[in-house]
Subunit: 279 residues, 2 copies
C-alpha cells in the first residue's frame, strides 16, 4: 500500500515507523511544512520521500493527517476536494469540530475520524518511536458516515498496528477525552506553574523531586501549539470537567481549613477506587 | 551492624532489602504491629526476626522508624526513653512536628530526622522492592542538634545506599515537600475524584485512559493511613500551595471562559519551563 502521512511529528512519525516495521506500507510519502522537521524525518528514514501535499494526495491510496487539530480543520476540506477514491483519516485528539466542517462534503464518505490513544509529552519527528501504538486503544468515530470499504481499510490498519478499536460518535469521544486526557494536561500545566511561581529555589525542586512529582508534572512539558487548539475545540467539555476538578480540590482545601480529617480520609479512600479502573 | 526496623511497610521493607543486599546490616530485627505484615516480612526474608519493640531497642545499635508520621510522634519519645547510646532515625515525610515533640528529650542527640525521597503509590511489605533508594536524594534535618557520631553513622548509611544527601532544617524541609510531593498527591486524589464523580462510564475510562491520565492519577492509589497524618502535620504549607494551585487552575478556567487563547498559550509556555528543572 502507498501511504501519505501529512505532518511528521510525534504521531505521524511514530505511525510511519510502525507502517514500515509491520510491512503495512510499501511506500510512505511525507508532507511537512517545517523544513527542519522534514529533514529530520528523511534522515531518520521515517518516510521514503517528502513531497508536496498535491503530489502526496495524487500518489497514495491512504492518507493520514497528523497535524494540530486547528490545522486539520483548515486542511481537511481541501484534501477531500482533491481525492478521487483514496481513504483519508486524521489522528487528532478532538473530533466534533473536524467532523462538522466536512459533514456536507461530497467526498465525506472517504473520510474516517480516528484517535489512537497514545502520545508522550514530546513533539517533533525526533520524538517518534517504534512500537508506539501496540496494545493501546483507538477510537474510530462515526463509522456509519463513511463508505464500508473505507471503514474496513481503517479497521484493518489499526488491527495490524495491534490496537483495540472502540466505536463511538464524535460527541461521545470529545466528552470522554476531556476526562481521560485533557483535564490531566491542565492539572499538570497548573501544577508546574504553581511550583514555578512559589518555589523560587529551583535547585531544591530539582534535587527533591521524586517519582511522584515527576509523574504528575510530566505532561506540563507538552507543546502549546498542539494543546491550545485542542482546548479551544473542546472548550465546553473541558470547562465542565475543570469546574468539577476545582470543586474537588476545594473539598480538600476545606478539610484542611476546618481540620476535618475524617472527611479528608473519606476523600482519599474514595480516590483510591481509581485502583479498580486503572491497574 | 545490628539494625532494627520499626514498621515493615513499603519504606521499612525496601530499606531492609537494601541493608541486606549491600551488607550494611548483618542482622535485621523487625517490629511490626500488623500480624499479617509481620508474616509477609518473614516469608519474604526482609528481616531475620520479628521481635517486640523493647527487644529491638535493646538488641540493636541502629534503629530505623518507618511508620506513619502520626505514629512516629507517639512512639519516638518512648524509644528515646529506652535507648542508651543507640542511634535512632525516622524516615517520615514531614519533620517539624516530630522534631518538636522530642526537642527537650535528654537523648535528643542520638536522633536524626531523615527523609529518603523515594516512594510508590503502593504500601505494605509486599510492595517492598530492591534498589529503591539508589541515586535518589535524602534530606537529613537539623544535624547540628545531634551527636557527631550519630550524624556520621547516618551519613554513612545513606552514602552506602547510594543516596545524595541534602541538609536543611525541619521547617525548610516541610515547605519544599509541600511543593514537590504533597501537592502532587492532592491533585492526583482530586483528579481521581473528578473522574469518578462525573465519568459514570467506567469502561470508557479503562479503555481510553492512556499514559497521560495514568501518570497524573497514579498517586491517587496512595494509602490514606499514611497521607492524612502528613497533611495534618504539614497543614499550613499544604494549604498555602493548594491555594496557589487552585488560583493557577482558575487562570486556565478564565482563559477558556473568555476564549483568551493567547493567554492560554502563555500559561502553557510558562509551564513548559518545568523542562529545565525536571528532565
Amino acid at each position: 500500500m502507498k501511504v501519505s502521512i501529512i505532518g511528521l511529528g510525534l504521531i505521524g512519525g511514530s505511525m510511519a515507523i510502525a507502517l514500515k516495521e509491520l510491512s503495512i506500507a510499501k511506500t510512505i510519502l511525507g508532507v511537512e511544512a517545517n523544513e527542519k522537521h522534514a529533514l529530520i524525518a528523511l534522515e531518520k528514514g521515517l518516510v521514503d520521500e517528502v513531497v508536496s501535499l498535491e503530489e502526496a494526495i495524487l500518489k497514495s491510496e491512504f492518507i493520514i493527517i497528523a497535524i494540530p487539530v486547528d490545522e486539520i480543520e483548515k486542511l481537511l476540506p481541501f484534501i477531500l476536494d482533491k481525492i478521487t477514491k483514496q481513504v483519508v483519516i486524521e489522528v487528532g485528539s478532538i473530533k466534533s469540530g473536524i467532523i462538522e466542517v466536512i459533514k456536507d462534503h461530497p467526498n465525506r464518505k472517504r473520510f474516517v475520524a480516528t484517535h489512537p490513544m497514545w502520545g508522550t509529552e514530546y513533539s517533533g519527528p525526533e520524538a517518534a518511536i517504534s512500537g508506539a501504538f501496540k496494545g493501546k486503544a483507538v477510537v474510530i468515530c462515526d463509522i456509519d458516515k463513511a463508505d464500508k470499504d473505507a471503514v474496513e481499510m481503517v479497521k484493518d490498519l489499526y488491527r495490524k498496528l495491534g490496537m483495540q478499536p472502540l466505536y463511538m460518535n464524535a460527541d461521545e469521544h470529545d466528552i470522554h477525552v476531556a476526562y481521560v486526557s485533557h483535564i490531566s494536561h491542565i492539572t499538570s500545566f497548573a501544577l508546574a506553574n504553581t511550583v514555578l511561581e512559589k518555589e523560587r529555589e529551583e535547585d531544591a525542586i530539582f534535587s527533591l523531586a521524586s517519582g511522584g512529582f515527576e509523574s504528575t508534572v510530566r505532561l506540563a512539558k507538552s507543546n502549546a501549539a498542539m494543546w491550545v487548539p485542542i482546548f479551544m475545540q473542546n472548550r465546553e467539555n473541558v470547562l465542565d470537567v475543570l469546574n468539577e476538578h476545582i470543586s474537588q480540590l476545594r473539598k480538600f482545601k476545606s478539610c484542611l481549613e476546618k481540620e476535618n480529617y475524617n472527611y479528608l480520609q473519606e476523600l482519599i479512600e474514595k480516590a483510591n477506587r481509581i485502583k479498580n479502573i486503572i491497574k
